[in-house]
């Protein structure tokens, strides 16, 4: 693919398990390389332990990923995954999907903070899941890869928990809701639960995410109001979990962006949307550090990198429970740099222009016509006496 700086197109290539000869089953490392004119973005998705997405931004066009596979597989060696040359790394950040919480919402509040401890069922630890082979679900043309898995228990006999990573060469939108606006600096992670059997009658779910930052931590979530809900009907907010350099809150180094909505059907209609809300971000306590859960974080960052976590809770009070459709999907963008900003579609702008412009033009033309008529038509004459 051509590199076109002015259109901000990147050349995107996918590579599975770079440099590995043979791997034990269930471990996959996907490397997506997006090369710009004078910098490169590396996206790494790994299923060893908890599914993790690592983003690394380098200011060189020849940076590459080096994996020391034997050390990497032990999950005990810092530096077993490196991006060479290390001095070219500008910024990096990782997103770890750690746990799936399920609770019995007997009072229909959809608020995990107010639900008693006893209603919480044992969480699904995503690091203990067995994942499908990424080779089969890789789509190099569309730049997507899917990971599906379960923990082998009876709940996952007929269903699975899946993640789909998409990388992009340019600006655009997905066709399906929530149609987030992405650009070449972002990747999209869609997670969904399909067919998993709930363990209680009134189950609701909550997803725990942890973000590991290089220099700065992703320590705040900005909720931005937007008047445009064309692409996600009835959602007027965008949430952004961002990290900024110290003392400069207006610059964003890395972000996770989403619209606070989840969908209860694979091809949703308006009524299948259900709002979701987040709690946090809070610093992750010592015993829960993601390096233990995720092989990729351990290999790249070391044993104790600081992390912040949020919980995404799906549904609100009064909405149908998970058992009604046995499907839940949520999409987010993870990227580096400034998050993309939505704008009006050309259709809306043109309708408003025509609708407001036409009466103005008619009024103007009519006014001109009336003035012209007044000056052209002579005023009625006063009778002059005949003499």
């Amino acid at each position: 693919m051509e590199l076109l700086q002015q259109n901000k197109m990147f050349a995107v290539s996918l590579e599975l398990n770079p440099g590995a000869n043979s791997l034990p089953p269930g471990v996959d490392l996907l490397h997506v390389r997006a090369q710009g004119v004078n910098d490169t973005l590396h996206f790494l998705l790994c299923s060893q332990g908890a599914p993790t997405l690592l983003l690394v931004h380098t200011n060189s066009t020849v940076s590459k990923v080096q994996v020391d596979w034997p050390a990497f597989l032990t999950r005990n060696a810092t530096g077993s995954l490196k991006v060479e040359p290390e001095s070219s790394i500008v910024h990096s950040s990782a997103m770890v999907f750690t746990r799936l919480w399920e609770y019995d919402d007997v009072n229909d509040t959809a608020d995990p903070d107010s639900v008693p401890r006893s209603s919480f069922l044992p969480p699904y630890e995503l690091q203990n899941f067995t994942w499908s082979d990424m080779n089969r679900t890789l789509d190099p043309a569309a730049h997507t890869a899917t990971l599906c898995g379960g923990d082998g228990s009876s709940s996952f006999i007929n269903g699975s928990f899946c993640l789909q990573l998409s990388a992009f060469e340019s600006e655009g939108r997905d066709r399906g809701w929530p149609s987030l606006l992405h650009n070449a600096n972002s990747s999209q992670m869609k997670v969904w639960l399909s067919g998993v059997s709930p363990r209680a009658n009134q189950s609701r779910f909550s997803l725990e995410l942890q973000a590991v930052g290089g220099a700065s931590l992703m320590d705040r979530v900005d909720v931005v109001r937007s008047i445009d809900d064309e692409y996600t009907p009835s959602i007027f907010k965008v949430s952004q979990w961002v990290s900024s350099p110290p003392n400069q809150t207006s610059t964003v180094l890395s972000y996770a962006q989403w619209k606070p909505v989840a969908y209860r059907q694979p091809v949703p209609v308006f009524e299948d949307s259900t709002p979701c809300h987040h709690s946090g971000p809070v610093p992750v306590p010592q015993r829960e550090r993601p390096a233990a859960a995720s092989g990729l974080v351990r290999a790249f960052y070391g044993p104790e990198p600081p992390a912040a976590g949020i919980n995404m809770t799906f549904s609100i009070a009064g909405d149908p429970y998970y058992s009604v459709t046995k499907f839940l999907s949520w999409t987010m963008l993870v990227g580096l740099g400034t998050p993309p900003v939505d704008s009006f579609s050309p259709l809306v702008l043109s309708i408003m222009a025509v609708a407001l412009g036409t009466p103005m033009i008619i009024l103007l033309l009519g006014g001109v016509y009336v003035c012209v008529r007044k000056t052209v038509t002579p005023l009625p004459q006063v009778y002059e006496p005949i003499n």
């Binding site: 064309e230 009835s234 308006f270 309708i351 407001l356 008619i362 009336v370």
Partner: protein, 468 residues
């Protein structure tokens, strides 16, 4: 007790033809409250007349006040939900022409009113039964039957008003009837949510049963209106016997062939009517969820703000009517109303400003337009075509409402609220284009649509030089 005595005196007067002349009027002095020509009796009749329409206006907006509940309990899309409004409007595309004819020639005012009230009651019962039995098609049939009665009942109500209050009091009575109608809508918006939650506590869970029971309770207001219709029928028949006057007629003559003679300004007025009202009623129908989602209102607050348009128009209509009567210049007022509505919709679409402001503007401009637009028809069309013109105007208004209700539902399902608001803005702009053209056409032709009140009075005096 007093009633029986009067009934005997009436019977007495009927049997004796020669004595009819003597017994006309209060031959034996009747008490003030039972004398049909006395003000106190007419006020009693006025009260029943006002409550006649209460039930139908209360139940008309039941879907809007329970929008979330209807959609969730009956598992609908927004497009299907708006069908409940479309089905109300469809029969009125035709009935607006037939209503006057049915009342004048076929049923008579008394029987006609009772029949239409019965339709309203039965329609609401079928609507509620559809919910109880979890059959949406039955709910749509219920709205259709309800629609047959609803609009024609308004015609009957107006005919009663003209019959009992012709003269200087008529405008006040029309104003009061309109206010009562708005009161019915307001009460509906604010109460039905509470009723639904009480029934939920009773039944134990939400669902179509809870919805059905709530709608049946709403139907009690229709029963109340039916009782008013029966009482009015009785009082009217009694007054006819005592005062020996004829049964009231609508006086409308509908001749469809007159349509080809309608002047160009009248078609512009039709366009204004359609373009304007389709941006009001479907918007109120879908308003509750809009305010909840965009402005983070609670459901109760959202219902309250949705009813602001009606709350404001109840006192504002008579006041603005008075103002338009005194100043004239109808086109200018229509222009003001349309521009204000456009501003209100743009505020709701493109800003997060407090929606109370926009909805209040909408309420005032809606009342202003009603007072200024409908009388204009009488200025452009000769009197013998007036019935046809009004019937046609109501008919295409209902056609527009039926079509746009369905379109609004689908737009919301696929494109969201911003696009829906932009669509409503475009409809109001269509009305704006028509007003601007009406102003220019009237100015160029030196017509009399935009005369001030004093100039119009002078014109009427000149038109009837032999009246002295």
């Amino acid at each position: 007790m007093a009633d029986i005595e009067e009934r005997q005196s009436l019977l007495g007067s009927e049997e004796d033809d020669d004595d009819i002349q003597r017994d006309r009027g209060p031959g034996r002095p009747l008490s003030a409250i039972s004398d049909p020509s006395h003000l106190l009796h007419r006020i009693i009749v006025l009260i029943f007349m006002c409550f006649l329409g209460f039930g139908s206006y209360f139940c008309y907006d039941n879907p809007a006040s329970l929008q979330t509940e209807v959609i969730l309990d009956m598992r609908l899309t927004t497009a299907s939900f708006m069908q409940l409004y479309a089905w109300y409007s469809w029969p009125n595309v035709v009935l607006c022409f037939l209503g006057g004819f049915l009342i004048d020639r076929v049923f008579g005012i008394r029987l006609g009113t009772i029949i239409f009230s019965v339709f309203v009651c039965i329609g609401q019962v079928i609507f509620a039964s559809g919910a109880l039995l979890n059959r949406f098609w039955l709910m749509e049939i219920g709205r259709f039957v309800f629609g047959i009665g609803g609009e024609s009942l308004a015609v009957a109500q107006n005919t009663y008003a003209v019959n009992w209050f012709k003269g200087k009091e008529l405008n006040l009575v029309f104003g009061l009837q309109l206010s009562m109608a708005r009161l019915g809508s307001t009460v509906n918006m604010n109460i039905m949510g509470w009723v639904y939650s009480r029934i939920t506590d009773l039944v134990g869970h939400t669902g179509y049963t809870t919805l059905g029971v709530s709608l049946m309770i709403a139907g009690i207001t229709c029963l109340f209106s039916l009782i008013c219709a029966l009482v009015l029928g009785f009082l009217d028949k009694r007054a006819e016997k005592i005062l020996n006057k004829e049964q009231g007629k609508t006086g409308e003559v509908i001749k469809l062939t007159d349509v080809k003679d309608f002047p160009f300004p009248l078609w512009l007025i039709f366009i204004i009517c359609v373009g304007y009202y389709v941006a009001i009623f479907p918007f109120i129908g879908l308003g509750q969820v809009f305010f909840i989602e965009k402005f983070n209102f609670s459901p109760a607050e959202a219902r309250a703000i949705n009813s602001v348009v009606y709350i404001i128009s109840a006192p504002a209509s008579p006041l603005l009517g008075f103002m338009v009567d005194k100043t004239g210049k109808n086109i200018v007022w229509v222009l003001c109303a349309v521009v204000t509505t456009l501003i209100a919709h743009m505020m709701l679409a493109f800003t997060f400003w407090n929606p109370w402001i926009a909805m209040s503007l909408l309420g005032v401009s809606y009342s202003l337009l009603a007072c200024a637009l409908w009388p204009m028809v009488a200025f452009v069309v000769p009197e013998h075509q007036l019935g046809t013109a009004y019937g046609f105007m109501q008919s295409i208004q209902n056609l527009g409402l039926a079509l746009i209700s369905m379109a609004a539902g689908s737009i919301l399902d696929t494109r969201g609220y911003l696009f829906l608001e932009v669509f409503f803005c475009a409809c109001v702009c269509l009305a704006l284009i028509a007003v601007v053209m009406l102003y220019l056409v009237d100015y160029v032709r030196a017509g009399d649509l935009n005369l001030s009140a004093s100039a119009r009075v002078k014109l009427q005096k000149e038109a009837t030089p032999d009246s002295e």
